[in-house]
């Protein structure tokens, strides 16, 4: 038997006066705010406990190495591939606009600057959140649902120390390297498309890059990536630890882990960008060079 919306039995709506409506609205907003505050508090407490365990006792080699392999080695090809393509895409997109101005050789500066400051770290972090973050949430979620996390605790092993700290540490240590890999492959991809395909002069391409992209730009990208790595690992592990029962719960934990990590990566990117620019201007008050 099929039901349409019209056939569904809807409760009779009582007409509310504006005051009641306003009160309901405030109550809803309050409830939402409470929910967000609770979720944020829970993530922060979880992060605090992870950091405490990190300084109290380092994880064992046998728990750390598989995570290093999973998070670092296995992510390398996909990060390298996306990095190379993003470099080439940047060349494709910028070329025509720069050619109109007769500034084709400045492509090196714009491509490499965008890569090392923004796209390299954000791309590496996004790939890691998608490839590793959701997998961590699903794995830990399954462990929660099948009582393996309870089993760890019952045998006197702290689940945060045993499961979260190695994952957190692996993300933190390896994301700068993945970022550098994304930067490198992006730079190579951008050079390949600009010089080999678009026939831009290689010497001037590099000269412009060297002139405008400084070591602070590279540092900015790598420094930001540390925060991205920390955030995505903590959010993903937290989602896994607080997974709802059943296959649906595990699936939702994996999806939420990626979505929340991605949003937080972009928010962090904005605020870290502002903060790092302020630091740059404090050190070099003349400001960055203008293209």
């Amino acid at each position: 038997m099929e039901f349409s919306d019209d056939q569904a039995v809807a409760p009779a709506r009582t007409r509310l006066n504006p005051m009641q409506l306003a009160a309901e609205l405030i109550a809803d907003v309050g409830e939402l705010a409470m929910m967000w505050a609770t979720a944020l508090g829970s993530v922060l407490l979880f992060s605090w406990s992870t950091l405490l365990w990190l300084v109290t006792r380092l994880p064992r080699r046998e728990t750390l190495l598989p995570n290093f392999y999973q998070i670092g080695v296995l992510s390398l090809p996909v990060v390298a591939l996306t990095g190379a393509f993003i470099g080439m895409v940047l060349a494709v997109q910028s070329y025509f606009q720069f050619r109109v101005l007769g500034l084709e050789t400045r492509l090196g500066a714009i491509i490499n600057m965008s890569l090392v400051r923004e796209l390299g770290p954000v791309l590496a972090a996004t790939m890691l959140a998608g490839r590793v973050g959701s997998a961590m949430a699903a794995e830990l979620g399954t462990m929660r649902v099948t009582e393996q996390i309870d089993a760890l605790a019952s045998m006197g092993a702290n689940p945060v120390h045993y499961l979260v700290v190695p994952r957190f540490l692996s993300c933190l240590v390896l994301i700068p390297m993945l970022t550098i890999m994304a930067d490198f492959m992006g730079v190579a991809g951008g050079w390949f498309y600009s010089v080999v395909i678009l026939n831009i002069d290689s010497h001037h391409y590099w000269q412009n890059s060297q002139q405008f992209v400084g070591s602070f730009d590279l540092f900015t990208g790598v420094f930001k990536s540390l925060f991205f790595g920390a955030a995505l690992s903590l959010i993903s592990c937290h989602r896994g630890f607080n997974c709802d029962p059943g296959a649906e719960g595990v699936g939702r934990a994996a999806t939420n882990a990626f979505v929340a990590s991605f949003v937080v990566i972009l928010v962090l990117d904005l605020f870290l960008g502002i903060a790092l620019d302020a630091i740059y201007l404090a050190i070099w008050p003349e400001g960055p060079s203008i293209l």
Partner: protein, 283 residues
């Protein structure tokens, strides 16, 4: 009864004291004012229908679930007053056999059983290997399973590995959560026999959460029945039977006898009044 003959001494001083325990998940209260004293050496079966809070009570005993009120005293020490380190030490005195075994599926069977030994003792690899093989032999598993992953084992084998893992560091208290659920009758009896044998070989206090009356009758020397809070009126006690397994059939409480005999009784009427007329007429 085998279990009673095998008992290493008369139950003496209380080992676990549950006092005024209340557990709540959000707005859903599961346990209310539960009081219980378990003497050293006793084998207690906690029975009750699904969702009545048996597992919650078991998990509360080792601090896996925090109570909303009341508490647990183990060997004279209040669980809530322990530091993390003390709680870890306390947990090492327990062996917990989980309902679905809860074996770590990223590890082999051998690594699973060795886990508590490697976490908490300084034994050499050879010593650990020796203990693992001994524990697996105790539960009737051949040395060849050591290299297998839990996913390759049958349900009964997984339960037995879970038992071997719980026994690895010679616990004082064994907690069994639904040890025979989901097993065929023969494997269920094997698990029952293993629980009895465990008590014979190691001087342990055991708490068995089950809804299998066969297990309760065969293994326990005391049975406790918990009733779901949703079916109780305000102020009614949640423990509706506490006594020897032999006398449970003669209980004057119809709720107890209904469970023991496995009769749907008025529940069928309740279901019919609420929902699912199709399902009921089909059955």
């Amino acid at each position: 009864m085998v279990a009673k003959q095998a008992q290493p001494g008369q139950p003496s001083e209380p080992l676990i004291e549950v006092h005024g325990l209340c557990v709540q998940f959000g707005n859903n209260q599961v346990l209310r004012d539960v009081d219980l004293t378990i003497p050293r050496g006793q084998t207690l079966a906690i029975i009750g229908e699904s969702g009545c809070g048996k597992t919650v009570l078991l998990k509360s005993m080792i601090g896996l679930i925090r109570p909303a009120a009341g508490g647990i005293r183990f060997d004279g020490r209040e669980l809530s007053e322990l530091t993390d380190k003390q709680l870890t030490e306390q947990r090492m005195r327990f062996g917990y056999v989980f309902q679905m075994a809860a074996l770590f599926d990223s590890m082999t069977v051998g690594q699973n059983v060795a886990f508590p030994l490697r976490e908490h003792t300084n034994k050499s690899r050879d010593e650990v290997r020796q203990i693992v093989l001994e524990r697996l032999a105790e539960v009737g598993l051949p040395p060849a399973v050591v290299r297998q992953k839990p996913a390759e084992l049958s349900g009964g084998m997984r339960k037995r590995v879970g038992l071997a893992r719980a026994l690895a560091i010679n616990p004082e208290v064994m907690l069994y959560d639904e040890p025979t659920t989901g097993l065929d009758p023969i494997m269920s009896d094997i698990i029952n026999e293993l629980m009895i044998r465990t008590r014979r070989q190691h001087p342990v206090t055991s708490i068995v959460v089950t809804h299998d009356m066969r297990t309760a009758r065969k293994v326990a020397d005391r049975v406790l029945m918990i009733y779901p809070l949703s079916r109780l009126a305000e102020g009614e006690p949640q423990i509706i039977y506490d006594g020897p397994p032999g006398e449970i059939e003669e209980s004057a409480d119809p709720r107890v006898t209904q469970f023991v005999r496995g009769e749907a009784g008025r529940r069928l009427m309740e279901m019919r009044n609420h929902h699912t007329p199709d399902t009921l007429s089909a059955s």
